[in-house]
Structures are given as C-alpha cells and as structure tokens.
Symmetry: C2
Subunit: 108 residues, 2 copies
Amino acid sequence: MGLTKTDNFTTEQNELASLAKALGHPARVAIIEYLSSQADCVCGSIVDALPLAQATVSQHLKELKNAGLIQGSIEGNSICYCLNPEKWKKFKQMLEPIFTKSEAPVCC
Amino acid sequence: MGLTKTDNFTTEQNELASLAKALGHPARVAIIEYLSSQADCVCGSIVDALPLAQATVSQHLKELKNAGLIQGSIEGNSICYCLNPEKWKKFKQMLEPIFTKSEAPVCC
DNA sequence: ATTCTATATCGTTATATTGCAATAAGACAA
DNA sequence: TTGTCTTATTGCAATATAACGATATAGAAT
C-alpha cells in the first residue's frame, strides 16, 4: 500500500520515526551538516553546496522543515535556514535510551 | 525518479542516511524498542508484539538487518534477533557532532 | 516420511519519494 | 511598472515503499 499504519503506534514512536525519516536521505544529511557548520545559511548557498537542482533542494528543505529539524526566516531578499535546537534536543532525548541499551544487548 | 543520487554524496553521508532511513518507520522504531528492552528476542514474539501481519514484520526486520542495526541468529527452531552494538555505536558517533552543534545554532 | 512450526519470499496493489524542467510567487531595484 | 533575483510550487516520469495473502522453505517433532 505504501501507506504507513501510524494509528497502531504510539505518538512517540511516530515522532521518532518522522525525525529519523527526515534525516534518511544523503541530501538532507548534507544540508544538516552544512547548516551545523556554516555561518552562511542562506537558501541559495545550500543549493550551490549540493549536487542537485534548485527545485530538488527546495523540496528537501521543505521536508526538513515539516519534520521541524530546521526553520527558515526571511532575510531581506532571501531566506535563512537554520537548525531548530529544541527539535534536535528532543531527537537526541528519544535516541539516547536506545543508544545506551544497545551497548549491552539483552540477549544473543 | 525515485532514485537517490548517492554517488554525489560522501560515504559517511550515505551511511548516516541509511541508518536514519532504517529507523524512519514507526514499526521499525517499535521493533528496536522491543529488542532493547525485552529478554525475549525471538522473531515470533516480535510479530506478536506488532500490529502488523507476519509478512510485513519480516520485511521490516529484513530492512533493519540490511542496515546493520540488528542481527539474527538461529535459535533452535526459530530466529533470535538482537541489536548490533557496533552499528549503534557508529550511528551515535555520527549523530553526536550534529547534536552538539545544534545546541547553539550558528545563525538566525 | 510426514506433519507441524517458524520464518522468508513472491506477487500484487496502493501510495510515497526522488528528481527535474518549467513556471509561479514574492521582494527589491530602477 | 518593469525587470531581476530568490525561493516555492506544479506537473511529470521513474523508482521505492508499505502492506498483506499466499506460498515456499527449513528445521523439529512425532
């Protein structure tokens, strides 16, 4: 079907999946890495930094924005995108218990 | 096209995206959470714990296995799945710098 | 050998995603 | 207003994903 049965899972599970999914594409990883290290966060710079067409980058930015991982603010003629600290904090908090438990698997 | 241009991104970016993508579905989040807290890691128990058909769960397990996040070992008549500590460690190591930098965004 | 049990794979349908060219929309400049 | 620059949206084609019933496979038990 291609249609995820979100109703059968908890809000937390859906939230974590949504964040992970947003990061689940190399272009979006590249955008996040760019934004986390670059002072220049103007949309046009992101497009230039990626090996994809402007329309494609715009779409990836939209998905990251929908997931809440980044936010955009109008900066004169262009738009400045940057990471959303709160969302990343939440992402980290949801992953941490899994990271910890994965260090010493329960069985096998 | 539906075909990701992986060639244009670094191995690291593709690797991180691949791990994130594997976790990018609530059913797979549920499986991981189950495996990280349950002593019983037999495949059948996972199927019972999820609100999805056996074939569907098997497919999700396959994807998690392909990404390397879990590994399966034959346990008598059935199969025991468990988290792969090394892969989770790598996942954590790749995310950590982003988590850190996201605490204090460069701009905006 | 046959049956049972557990898991994987196949085939199919519906929907989602990726990518881009073309175009629209918005802000600013002249 | 007209043009220019920047970003978003639309429309399309190709591929991927999610879900499941049906079936195959493989080991255990009888």
